[in-house]
């Protein structure tokens, strides 16, 4: 199908675009910008006047809950949520049940996603069997099955020898290891940032040192083993500073932050609001500002939703017992836009952190509007105001600390591989 997206504001740092123009799509690819290619007849014209046209978003962490947790969410529901949020590619952590530690499971998941024919799915394979931190998985096999990296999700990797060997082994094949920097001993039992709020509320704390100690360990192991590491979900100013130094030193690291960490702090827990129960925990205002500044200057490469649908039974519990996680696929774009606006960051930069930069980390297609790119495209109205109403979200996960908040920026259409998948 040939599509012409006309008169939209084309925004793509990779292609050096930020101006009004026309985008022409044919055979699932971007074939031309502005000038009509010879012989091109648009079977469909989408009037994008007043809309921003950007690459489809690439979310570096979205839990779809399949297999194993279908009562929390399904591929169908979460793919719809993704498309409604302008997200065309999803990187999925391996903490499903069973864990994604066997090629067969990965193939099955990829097959399920293909048959739904919606957003692209890029699973992360488990770094260790069962995420238990003991035995390495068959990474090469898993990569052949479609894994784009290897991760422990939120599970601890306590044994530093296993971590070192996992890095060596991954490096042998050129794989990236995705690690969430958190020392499991220092974080043990913690449910909130260790600080005045947790002290006052009587909640067990996760100190900032849980992040910095883990980062020091990871960096030291990179120095001796050289593996490329993607650091997932930074949470603290001190952690950001260590990443900045590591990058300056030339260590092969990238990093991301969850979009809600750009907005909220531990104070938002208020009176034990379990929709603020997330991992890593919301920290202080200083930490929040440092995360935003690092995302703006590129120390943090990408922003993701860390989408984690949680069912009511697991969330309507006392704070310390509630399952961590919030719904995010449909909020990623507006939350990133409002962060950019508040921080005085150009919209194009915010978009790049969810597209071009994310594609570079995941090593996947997409993230660009340049001619020849896959036609994964997001069209959104940057002026549209809407109020987050959990009941009307497409995701099966309805828990979000942004409920009833007014956000700006709404997706009007999403193209995946040159096909209008939403809108």
């Amino acid at each position: 199908m040939t599509i012409m997206i006309s008169n939209g504001r084309l925004v793509d740092v990779a292609a050096g675009l930020d101006r009004v123009g026309h985008l022409h799509v044919d055979g699932g690819r971007v074939v031309a910008i502005d000038a009509l290619p010879s012989g091109f007849v648009a079977e469909r014209v989408i009037d994008a006047s007043g809309l921003v046209v950007c690459p489809g978003l690439i979310d570096l962490s979205a839990r779809l809950r399949e297999p194993g947790f279908e009562y929390k969410a399904t591929l169908e529901s979460e793919m719809q949520a993704a498309l409604a949020g302008g997200v065309t590619s999803l990187v999925c952590p391996p903490d499903t049940d069973p864990v994604l530690d066997e090629p067969g499971l990965v193939e099955m998941l990829k097959h399920r996603a293909r048959s739904l024919d919606q957003a692209h799915l890029y699973p992360l394979g488990a770094l260790t069997v069962g995420l238990k931190g003991e035995v390495l998985t068959e990474m090469a096999e898993l990569a052949e099955a479609g894994c784009v990296g290897f991760s422990q999700a939120n599970e601890a990797l306590v044994d530093t020898q296993v971590m070192a060997r996992a890095m060596q082994y991954a490096r042998s094949f050129g794989f990236t290891v995705w690690l969430r920097p958190q020392d499991s001993f220092l974080a043990r039992g913690g449910v909130a940032h260790s600080g005045p709020v947790s002290g006052r509320l009587g909640l067990s704390g996760v100190p900032v040192s849980a992040e910095t100690v883990a980062l020091h360990t990871i960096f030291e192991l990179i120095r001796s083993n050289g593996c490329r590491i993607h650091l997932c979900r930074l949470s603290s100013a001190a952690g950001v500073e260590l990443v900045r130094l590591a990058k300056r030193e030339g260590l092969p690291v990238t990093a991301d932050v969850a979009v809600h960490h750009l907005h909220l702090t531990d104070v938002d827990i208020g009176y034990f609001d379990t929709s603020c129960r997330v991992e890593p925990p919301f920290r202080s205002q200083r930490d929040r500002e440092a995360l935003g500044a690092a995302l703006a200057d590129g120390t943090i490469d990408a922003v993701c939703s860390d989408h984690t649908p949680v069912d009511d039974d697991a969330k309507l519990l006392p704070f310390g017992e509630a399952e961590p996680g919030v719904t995010g696929l449909e909020l990623l774009l507006p939350l990133a836009l409002s962060w950019a606006q508040r921080a005085g960051v150009p919209m194009a930069t915010a978009i790049a952190r969810m597209t071009t930069d994310a594609a570079r980390i995941a090593g996947c297609e997409g993230g660009s509007l340049a001619v020849g790119s896959i036609a994964d495209v997001c069209l959104f109205d940057p002026q549209a105001h809407w109020v987050v109403s959990p009941a009307t979200l497409r995701s099966q996960g309805h828990h979000t600390p942004f409920a009833q908040r007014e956000l700006q920026g709404r997706v009007r259409a999403t193209l995946v591989g040159g096909r209008v998948a939403f809108g």
Partner: protein
């Protein structure tokens, strides 16, 4: 953010924490407790304030003294009291906390007295129940034990009359203590100019300074010139998890002895929420000494809980 324990008119709807409680409400409860004190001395120990109302004691965590005093207090106010040891009933069968609450609310409960091992559990219950139900926090995790805090304030007022010139020291395991948090909030709300926390750093929570507390790791330093010493119970399990090396070492440095008590003002009073570990946080000579209020507090227990039930449920 609206304080969930006050209704739209700023009146007390639930008693969940002393934090954020206006000073006049605290004073009103203490005054009401004074007026109830004489009820215990009557031949007929009852007033009809809560006649026809049902008070459900929901104890998700073990307690004898708190539950018993609430039960007696509710009975003296002529309420119907239902005691539920929830640990052994519904929740062990997998029923969720809110399902349990729904089922009990359907039995026309008017008040829930809740104890739970998780900080914040009574908040969840309070936000779930209808506007006709009052929730009283009888201790949640490490967070709050407001009726104990009110009782402690009642006791201090009894002995010291005025809060505005006091120095009060809270000693021991503050990290795990809901009583300590409630006491600290109550003391600062009532205008106590100096509240001190004394303990090893492993047992002090972060952010005490923001709560208006001066921190001391040296007990002798911290006790100098204080008017009130509030000792906390030290749980045996604190010896695990690398918080403390031994009960002996704790007692040596943070146990209250006659010699350390002498550093406080001569008329200082010693309080302990009980049950006491003699020889761990307090020596027997002090516990049983003339400055100790440990046993004398018991008579006030019921009056303060009657006051809380009465203020909430008596209209």
């Amino acid at each position: 953010m609206r304080n969930p324990q006050l209704n739209d008119h700023g009146e007390l709807q639930h008693l969940l924490s002393i934090e954020g409680l206006p000073r006049d409400i605290i004073t009103h409860i203490m005054d009401t407790a004074s007026s109830f004190l004489e009820v215990s001395d009557r031949e007929v120990k009852k007033v009809p304030l809560l006649r026809g109302k049902s008070v459900f004691n929901l104890f998700f965590e073990n307690s004898t003294r708190t539950r018993t005093t609430f039960e007696i207090a509710a009975t003296r106010l002529s309420a119907d009291v239902v005691n539920l040891d929830v640990r052994t009933s519904s929740t062990s069968k997998g029923e969720s906390l809110l399902d349990t609450i729904d089922n009990l609310a359907a039995m026309h409960a008017d008040m829930f007295v809740v104890r739970h091992a998780q900080s914040g559990a009574p908040y969840m219950i309070a936000s779930h129940v209808g506007p006709d139900i009052n929730v009283i926090n009888a201790g949640d995790g490490r967070h709050a034990h407001p009726t104990q805090g009110l009782l402690d304030m009642y006791t201090i007022r009894h002995f010291k009359k005025d809060f505005s010139n006091l120095t009060v020291a809270v000693v021991g395991d503050i990290l795990h203590s809901r009583v300590a948090r409630s006491d600290i909030h109550a003391l600062t709300s009532l205008g106590v100019p100096e509240v001190r926390a004394i303990g090893p750093l492993t047992l002090l929570p972060p952010g005490l300074e923001q709560m208006g507390v001066r921190v001391f790791t040296d007990m002798r330093e911290g006790l100098k010139g204080v008017d009130v010493i509030m000792m906390l119970r030290l749980q045996n399990e604190r010896m695990r998890g690398a918080l403390l090396p031994s009960a002996q070492e704790f007692f040596k440095h943070y146990g209250l002895t006659a010699e350390k008590l002498a550093l406080a003002k001569p008329d200082a009073i010693v309080m302990h929420p009980g049950p006491m570990n003699r020889g761990v946080e307090i020596e027997s000579a002090v516990a049983d000494g003339p400055q100790s209020d440990i046993l004398k507090q018991v008579t006030s227990w019921i009056a303060v809980r009657m006051a809380v039930l009465g203020v909430l449920g008596g209209g």
